[in-house]
Structures are given as C-alpha cells and as structure tokens.
C-alpha cells in the first residue's frame, strides 16, 4: 500500500474527496455572500440564517405539503430568495448611503431574529430529512465508498457555481451587474433600473444560500443552529478569497474545504482553526485577499 506521511494513499484520496464535498458547501455559501458584498457592499450576516431557512423550508414543504426533495430544490430557494428581496426592499435599500457597517449590523439582528424564531417554534434538536429515494445507496470508488447523495452534491454545486459564474461573466444581465458594481450611477443613467437590480441581487444571494440549505438538509441535521455555526467560516473564506471577488470566493471555498479535509486527517484538533490561521497568513501577505483586486 502506498503511504503518504504515514497515511495510506487510498485513505488520503477519500479524505480529499470528502474535503471537496465540504468545499462545495463553502463555495456555494461564499458565492452568495460574495455576490451580495460585491454589488451591495453589505456583509450579509443573515447568510447563515438564510441557509438554515432553505433547509427548513424544504422540511416544511415535505411535512405540510408533501413536496419532496426535488420540488424543494426549486421552491425553497425561490421562497428564501423572495423573502430576501422583500428584506432588501423594505430595509437594506435604506442603508446604502450609510457606512457599510450598518448593513452588517442590520443583517446581524436579522440573523438573530430568524434563528430565534425557529428555535422558539421548532426547538434546537432539529427535524428529520431523508436522502431522496433516487440518491440513496453508495458507490465503491475503490479508495472509498461514496454515498450517491454526496456525489450529487459535488456535481450539483460545481454546476451551480459554474453556471452562476457564467451568468455573471458572460450574459447581458451579468454585464449590468458587474458594471453596476463599478459605477451604479452611470449604469442607471444608461436606463437600467439599478435599484431593482440590487433587490434582485440580494434575492439571488439569499436564494443561493437557501439552495445550499436544501442540499444540506439530507446530510446535516435540519436545525435552527445549522447556519450560525458555518457562517463565520464562510466569512473567513470570503476574506481569504478577496471580498467581492466571485471567482475568488468559489475557488477559495473548494480550496479551504480541501485544506480542512487534510487537517482532519493529519491534525484533526486544528481543523476548525486552520481556516482562520490561513486567513491570518493571507492577510499578512496579501491584505486584499488571494483574488482581491485593489491592494
């Protein structure tokens, strides 16, 4: 058996794959966060709550409307996205002229309120949500047994990240978005309804978080606490990637997932700190983050 630093190669490959799966969630979440930050200059502290909301909506759809995973995959992000759009219209749009810190503080309060409400109604132990029938079972890859659902998560999240990236980099709508990031006033002067675009963008970011939530529901316990635990790590991902850089967020998401996976093999005690350590090092060497534009 081939060994790498005292760990069998096969096991290592398995762990790398697992890291990639984790990275998929980081990437999906940081993608939404980066889009919101890139255009709205708002650190969306409620992103974790919106992720949780996605998972909960999926659960509620199943429990009360009998709508299963595949339906939820479409509906839940839509619902979370619409809720996000409403929040943007009602509240966030009033904060754009102020210091960006107020956006951070508002979404912080929002996160507390959403999570608190769900904890109040549903407790914190969580709700059951099973892997969809079509994706149960596992496949032997030789070096590890990969549950089919995990395979789906990697493929789907990669597809979504690429699709979102393409939509933003290659379409007319994306061109509006990118242009509005640079100079919203001028884009408005060209006749584009930028306020609507902003509302849509926040909705899109929230929907991406919701989508990640639905995808997480069969793997992670659907609990009101699921978002607050992951959000800080995702912040670190976005800071390392370079705030506002969409590509940076996605690439860093996968990369840090892998780093974390490796740490779990070689020094598991540090696996929750490793991301912050990387962040500190990156900030020392490249204050703007790995993919950040301005120095």
């Amino acid at each position: 058996m081939t060994m790498v630093f005292g760990v069998p190669l096969q096991a290592l490959l398995g762990q790398l794959l697992v890291g990639l799966i984790n990275g998929s969630f980081y990437a999906l979440l940081s993608l939404g966060l980066a889009i919101i930050f890139g255009l709205l200059r708002i650190i969306n502290f409620a992103h974790g709550a919106q992720y949780m909301l996605g998972a909960f909506v999926a659960y509620l759809l199943l429990a009360y409307a009998g709508i299963g995973y595949w339906g939820a995959l479409i509906l839940a992000p839509l619902i979370v996205g619409l809720a996000g759009a409403a929040i943007e219209r009602l509240a966030l749009s009033r904060l754009y002229d102020l210091d960006p810190l107020y956006g951070l503080l508002f979404t912080f309060g929002l996160a507390l309120a959403i999570e608190g409400s769900f904890r109040y109604v549903y407790g914190s132990a969580g709700q059951p949500y099973a892997v969809p029938q079509a994706l149960t079972g596992a496949r032997n890859l030789g070096f590890m047994v990969l549950p089919n659902y995990r395979g789906w998560v990697v493929v789907a999240s990669l597809a979504i990240c690429v699709a979102t990236w393409l939509a933003i980099e290659k379409t007319k709508f994306g061109a509006y978005l990118r242009a509005a990031t640079e100079n919203p006033t001028l884009v408005r002067a060209f006749g584009v309804n930028v306020p609507l675009l902003l509302t849509f963008t926040y909705g899109l970011g929230a929907a991406l978080a919701g989508l990640a939530g639905v995808m997480a529901a069969p793997i992670y316990q659907v609990s009101p606490l699921m978002g607050s635990n992951i959000i800080i790590v995702v912040f670190a991902v976005v800071v390392v990637g370079g705030m506002g850089s969409i590509l940076g967020a996605v690439v860093t998401g996968y990369m840090l997932g892998l780093c974390e996976g490796l740490t779990k093999v070689f020094y598991p005690e540090a696996s929750n700190i490793v991301i912050f350590v990387i962040m500190a090092i990156v900030l020392l060497i490249r204050p703007a983050g790995l993919f950040g534009r301005t120095a």
């Binding site: 407790g123 059951p128 992670y220 779990k264 005690e269």
Partner: protein, 379 residues
C-alpha cells in the same frame, strides 16, 4: 414550619437556546405535574412553581437564582441545564443555604469536588452514561471501540470514563479522533472510524454534533455495514428530531424510558397529553426530583434547608422515574440506568415508540461510589 407560608420551586433552564430540547419548557411542565400529583399543597401550604430561561448564560442564571433566593421566596432551584450554569448555581445555593437539584447537567463535578450539602444530582451523569453505554455494550459483544470525541473537556471526560469501563470489561479502544465542537461534517472522521474496523463507534459528544454524526453515519452505511453506533449523551427528544430512518441501530443510555412498565406508560401518556411529546430522562427526572423534595418537606415537617436535605437523603426514591433510588451523601441520586437500542422504522408501532431496552445497569454500578467521588461530604 414553612417560610413565607408557601413552598416555591424555581425551574431554571435553557428554553430558547442550544439545549432547549433537552429539558426546556417541558421540564417546567413536568414540575407542575409533580406538584399537581402531590395535591398542590404540602404541610397545608400552597406549592408554587416558577420558571426562567437562563439563555445558557451563567451570569443571567446566577443573577436570577440570587434574586429568587433573596427576594423571590424561592426555596429550591431545579433542572439547571448545562454544567457551567449548574455549577454556578450550586455554588451559590451552597452559600445561601438553599436546595438545588440538577437534572439537566451531566458533569460529575456536581457531586465531586464541587459538591454541596444542599445540592442534588438526579437524572444521570457522565459516569452513568459511560458505564451504561461502555460497560454494558462490551458485555453485549461490542468489544472494540473507536471514539469520535468532541474536542473539549466534556468530550474528553466522556471518552476517558467510557474507556475505563470498557477496558475493565475486556474491551479495547482501537482508535479515536478529536473533532472540533460544532463541527457540521463528520464524514472525514466517520471514514477513519469505518476503516479502523472497530465494532463500536462511540460518539463522545452532544447535541447537534451527535445528531450530525449519526445522520451521516447512516448515509455512509456504517450501521448497515455491521458497525454499531453508540451515542454517549443522547435522549429520546433528539432521536425524535433525527427520525428512525437515520437513528436505527443506535445504542444509548438513558435513566428513563416511557415504554418500560405500566407506571411509566401511564406517566408518559399523561405527559404527552399536556405537551404533545413523550418525556425523556431529564423531564421525568425533574418530575421525580420535585416529588422527592415535596415528600421530604412533608417528612421533615418544615422547609428548612438543612432538615429537608437530611430528609431527602434519608428517604429512598420510589416513583415512576426510579425504583429504590438512593440519595447518597454527596448528593448523587443512585438509580438504575438503561442501555437502549433505537428500533428500526418497521419495528416502531406508534409515535415515540423508539427504544428497545437492551440492558439494565444497576445504580451501584452506574454511579461513582460516593466515597470515591472526591466529595468531602462523603469521605
């Protein structure tokens, strides 16, 4: 001889935070049930139950406890979920010469170095969980273990105590891995556990961490592959939240199960009618603790702390929760524990029909001998 002409019990626990499902507002319900069952009066004085949500903050808990004792005419505080709160309130109760009875927290410190003459620890502790799950499971054939341990003091002590019992019963530990607290993804650790070939994977963690580990173990087909999962701290409420599909085959230890005998079934049914859920050991333990406290007042003929505490120790505990339970000098209520296995979905005949009792662990084996607990009162 009752102070302020009434007996007032405070139920202080987490009702909105991470441990809200452990005992939560349902422990308050259980306490009220106990008072009603007792007849609402003791020594002809009315009994009152108050409650507060400490939000998992020891300072809020300590503040409320002080106010209750000093100005709120509260005679005893019970439940006390999470160890930092339980220890803080026990310290305070000792200073104020008031009774506190812990059902929600697990740490053996409560009846160890930090024990109090007026402090009681009722439903379970880490040692009992370790003996129940570790010791009894080895006897049932699960003799090689791999631990998934939460990387902080609570996890270490669960792991260490379990290890002690399983090795003394002829089992061995083939490996262990420490995972960060609030770790969402366990697949990496589960892969390591899987390839270790251990017969039992012990989950030395709590709450959402345990739930996630179990859910993901089922996804990776660990139980289906012949390995056994043993959760060291997990209750009925959490199995309910996980669903049988994911939880089937899991072993765990509780001090109570509603479907054990006729008395517990009757109690469970009444509790369910009030709360739409079956009681776990913390809620049933709170019922038992309140009842025992009231009995002790009746026996002592006063609510004077010293005398009531003495009476509580003097009487055996015989109720729906415990049969022949003994209250030791260090405050530990010693009673039987049950090693359970979670049923397969097809075995479950009705809602909340989740457990099979695999083994009963006698109280004197489950709990640390008072003389060895490190509590000065029991030397």
């Amino acid at each position: 001889q009752v102070s302020d002409n009434k007996v007032k019990i405070g139920i202080l626990n987490d009702q909105s935070g991470v441990y809200a499902d452990f005992g939560g507002k349902w422990s308050y319900e259980a306490a009220k049930m106990a008072v009603e069952d007792f007849g609402g009066k003791v020594l002809d004085m009315p009994i009152e139950v108050v409650t507060a949500d400490h939000q998992n903050k020891p300072d809020i808990a300590s503040n409320i406890a002080r106010q209750w004792y000093d100005t709120g005419q509260v005679d005893a505080i019970m439940e006390l979920t999470t160890s930092s709160v339980a220890l803080a309130v026990q310290g305070l109760s000792k200073e104020k010469k008031k009774i506190n009875l812990v059902t929600g927290a697990a740490t053996t410190e409560l009846t160890g170095k930090q024990c109090s003459p007026y402090g009681f620890h009722w439903a379970y502790d880490t040692n009992a969980l370790a003996v129940g799950t570790g010791g009894a499971l080895v006897k049932a054939g699960g003799d090689s273990w791999f631990f998934l341990t939460a990387d902080y003091a609570f996890g270490y002590s669960l792991e260490a105590q379990t290890t002690k019992f399983l090795t003394s019963n002829g089992g061995k530990v083939v490996g262990s891995v420490r995972h960060p607290l609030s770790n969402a993804d366990f697949s990496s650790f589960l892969l390591q556990a899987q390839s270790s070939g251990a017969k039992v994977i012990g989950l030395a963690n709590a709450g959402l961490d345990t739930a996630n580990a179990i859910k993901q173990a089922s996804e990776f087909g660990i139980v289906a592959g012949g390995q056994r999962l043993a959760a060291l701290l997990f209750t009925l409420a959490e199995v309910h939240g996980l669903g049988l599909e994911a939880a089937q085959g899991l072993s765990l230890t509780e001090g109570f199960y509603w479907d054990r005998d006729d008395a517990s079934r009757a109690f469970g049914k009444r509790f369910f009618e009030r709360t739409k859920r079956m009681p776990n050991m913390i809620q049933a333990g709170t019922y038992s603790g309140v009842t025992h406290y009231l009995k002790a007042i009746a026996r002592a003929g006063t609510d004077d702390t010293e005398k009531v505490a003495e009476a509580m120790r003097a009487m055996p505990v015989d109720d729906v929760f415990a049969k022949g339970g003994i209250v030791a000098k260090n405050g530990r209520m010693i009673h039987d524990m049950y090693l359970m296995e979670v049923k397969k979905p097809e075995e479950s005949k009705q809602p909340w029909d989740y457990f099979k009792v695999l083994a009963t662990v006698p109280g004197d084996q489950a709990y640390i001998k008072p003389s060895e607990s490190g509590c000065p009162l029991a030397q």
